[in-house]
């Protein structure tokens, strides 16, 4: 396989991945966590059975890595308000109790292993910092809504 044809395959695989899978995830945060979960922690390689069967393991791996970098970049350039919104939506989709979610994300910091390989440490740290502040905002909002109405749905922003 020549470099050019491989590059074309990777682009086709990325398109396929965006169309079939990533389009179902509206937010960069969802996509970042999902794509990080397709990466093997021991080898750093990405795996996706469907994509690998249509293309090849190598092409699927590169397409997943490309989409991972893209999701990271989109999240990195999101405003803090947007990150809070994305985090809020992620809590709802994950069907976890907000208190448990916030405690787990504070303690385990799962986002720290979700960044693509070879990300610049400063840009990664900027994202972590934004997520820490977003978690704090979410928690204060949750506590406020709990105080206002103990039985109400906890994570609704004023605009929703």
């Amino acid at each position: 396989m020549t470099a050019l044809s491989k590059h074309q395959d990777v682009r086709a695989a990325s398109r396929d991945l965006r169309l079939r899978t990533l389009s179902l995830m509206p937010h960069p945060l969802d996509r970042l966590i999902y794509l990080a979960s397709t990466r093997d922690y021991n080898t750093g390689l990405y795996h996706h059975d469907g994509l690998a069967s249509r293309f090849s393991d190598e092409v699927a791996c590169e397409a997943l890595a490309d989409c991972h970098r893209e999701a990271f970049h989109h999240l990195l350039t999101s405003s803090l308000e947007d990150i809070v919104r994305q985090l809020e939506a992620y809590v709802e989709v994950s069907r976890t109790e907000p208190v448990e979610f916030i405690a787990a994300w504070r303690g385990l910091k799962p986002y720290q292993v979700a960044v693509p390989a070879q990300t610049d440490p400063l840009t990664a740290e900027f994202l972590f910092s934004n997520l820490r502040v977003a978690l704090a905002i979410l928690e204060s909002r949750f506590r406020r809504s709990q105080l206002a109405a103990p039985g109400a749905s906890p994570l609704r922003s004023p605009g929703q």
Binding site: T77, L80, I137
Partner: protein
Amino acid sequence: MTSLIIFCAIGAGLFLLLLLAMVRRPSRPEGSADALLGARHALRTLQVSLLPAEVVERFLARDDLDYVLAAAPLSIQQLFLQERKRILLAWITQVRQQITSLQDFHFGHSRHFVQMSLTTEIGLAWEFAVLRMECRALYLLVVLRGPYGAPLIAGKMAGTAARLCSISEESLAFLAPAEGRAIPDDSARGDAHV
């Protein structure tokens, strides 16, 4: 009297040139390859990680501050300001480090690889000096006035750094064929530079 002034002016000019020639570090070929790779790495770090317009804009984004002031209690406002200050100071430090690495290459080794006129070298030295001054001023202002204390200087510093990067890129352009031609990518990475 007039001729004395002219001779003095010529003398002063020659003296300045002599000083400039002495200030220029002696250039030795050994270690030049390492310096070249270091400069290439510094340039790439600046262009890809530290200076893309979207990233710099986010570091300095005023809308984040407005949002936190409107939507978060005082303790979170303080947390946010501390975090941004920490990030901004780290960013300034890294830009300064990478720029120093580029400067060392330009004034120590670049003449082994590229022909640069004296005017260009003086212009470049001026740009480097201005940038290092801007870095110091910005660092001090962020320490004293917080992360949103000097948005204009921050923008100016990013602009000067980007200008120096493009000059350095031209002088390191001869490396491009050895690295292989980049295949055009139409994915939405958005690696725009300031």
